[in-house]
């Protein structure tokens, strides 16, 4: 059985695509067969973050409209044999995705032996976001410790609880967890930023990962190498922890306390 994970947030720019790419890579690195799908029709970006933008020939909409087979459209990752990317279409047609079409693609992937299908949701609560979450078993809600992101996440949680197949069919519910990005432990300590506990309490959910604010994230996207591949970076390690937890491992949170480096260490990069 394939596990369908939606990476969603409501608000834009919080790190959905970065997270989708890293989770997919991390799962593949653990030997799982993974497909990661970009649901942001019209604003394709997962391909850039994954570093396969020049190898996109067919996309998700081509498959749904029968212009290409799923096999033709899946882009095989160059780093992991078991990782495949399905790019979003650049069409401006908002109705290019259909519920039936998405369901068929997901079913075909499951039949093809994929262990995980990661659905990278667009921002907002329009059709693309709705379809990305509709068939999910599990949701990773990406949130910045910041008021507008937290509020939008709550809207998304409301939709996950009502507008998904699981919610409609009384098959149980979509299991949701939080993934905090751009977390700054030192600003939390000085009372300038919402803490993990604050966000958990407001949203009533548990956290599956905390990714610290890091310059490595931009460097990774510049290069088209998901930041999880950079295991020297805190952000990469934090994503790897999140993947482990996603697979049921119990790991303590790291990088959630301020750096206690002294002035001279900072000065000399020690």
């Amino acid at each position: 059985m394939a596990e369908i994970i939606v990476v969603t947030s409501g608000k834009g720019g919080v790190g959905k695509t970065t997270t989708s790419a890293s989770l997919a890579c991390g799962l593949a690195r653990r030997g799982k067969k993974v497909a990661v799908i970009d649901f942001d029709v019209g604003l394709r970006n997962l391909d850039l973050i994954m570093g396969c933008e020049r190898r996109v020939v067919y996309d998700f909409v081509n498959v749904i409209q029968g212009e290409a087979t799923l096999k033709q459209a899946l882009i095989k990752d160059k780093r992991f044999d078991t990782l495949f990317i399905l790019a979003a279409s650049q069409t401006r047609d908002k109705d290019a995705l259909s519920t039936e079409g998405v369901e068929k693609v997901l079913k075909d992937l499951a039949d093809d032996g994929f262990d995980y299908i990661v659905c990278d949701s667009p921002a907002g609560i329009e059709k693309g976001a709705f379809l990305a979450m509709y068939f999910a078993d599990q949701a990773v809600v990406v949130v910045n410790p910041e008021v507008s992101s937290v509020r939008d996440s709550d809207r998304i949680l409301g939709l996950l609880a009502s507008k998904t197949r699981k919610a409609e069919s009384s098959e149980g519910e979509v299991k949701a967890s939080l993934l905090l990005t751009r977390y700054s432990p030192s600003r939390v300590e000085t009372g300038e930023m919402l803490s993990i506990t604050d966000v958990e309490e407001v949203l009533g959910l548990k956290t599956i990962g905390v990714v610290p604010e890091s310059t490595d994230v931009l460097n990774a996207s510049n290069k088209g190498e998901p930041v999880i591949l950079d295991l020297e970076s805190n952000a990469g390690q934090a994503y790897d922890d999140a993947v482990a937890r996603l697979m049921g491992e119990d790991r303590p949170m790291r990088f959630t306390q301020p750096d206690r480096k002294g002035f001279f260490n900072k000065l000399f990069g020690g």
Binding site: E146, V147, V150, D154, G158, T190, E192, L194, V202
Partner: protein, 83 residues
């Protein structure tokens, strides 16, 4: 205000954020359960009522409550005290 207050840490804005979020999210969750037209209905009712009585913006409460098999539209209007 003490002389050295400026030396203290900046105001704890995170706790302000948390309080604001708690309130707005609780409010939005209670609206969300009901039909989409509730906020608009509330606003229009308020406008009509204000033609006759001067009431506060939060004087009109509109909720859908369950009564056995039925959904009941529960509207309550708090009138101002007579001067």
């Amino acid at each position: 205000m003490g002389m050295f207050d400026f030396l203290r840490a900046k105001k704890n804005t995170a706790s302000i954020a948390k309080d604001r979020l708690r309130i707005i999210i609780a409010q939005e969750r209670s609206n969300l359960g009901g039909p989409d037209y509730l906020p608009l209905l509330r606003r229009e009712l308020l406008e009509v009522i204000r033609k006759y009585v001067s009431v506060d913006a939060d004087a009109v409460k509109v909720d859908v409550v369950k009564d056995g098999e039925h959904d009941v539209l529960d509207i309550s209007v708090a009138l101002p005290e007579r001067a």
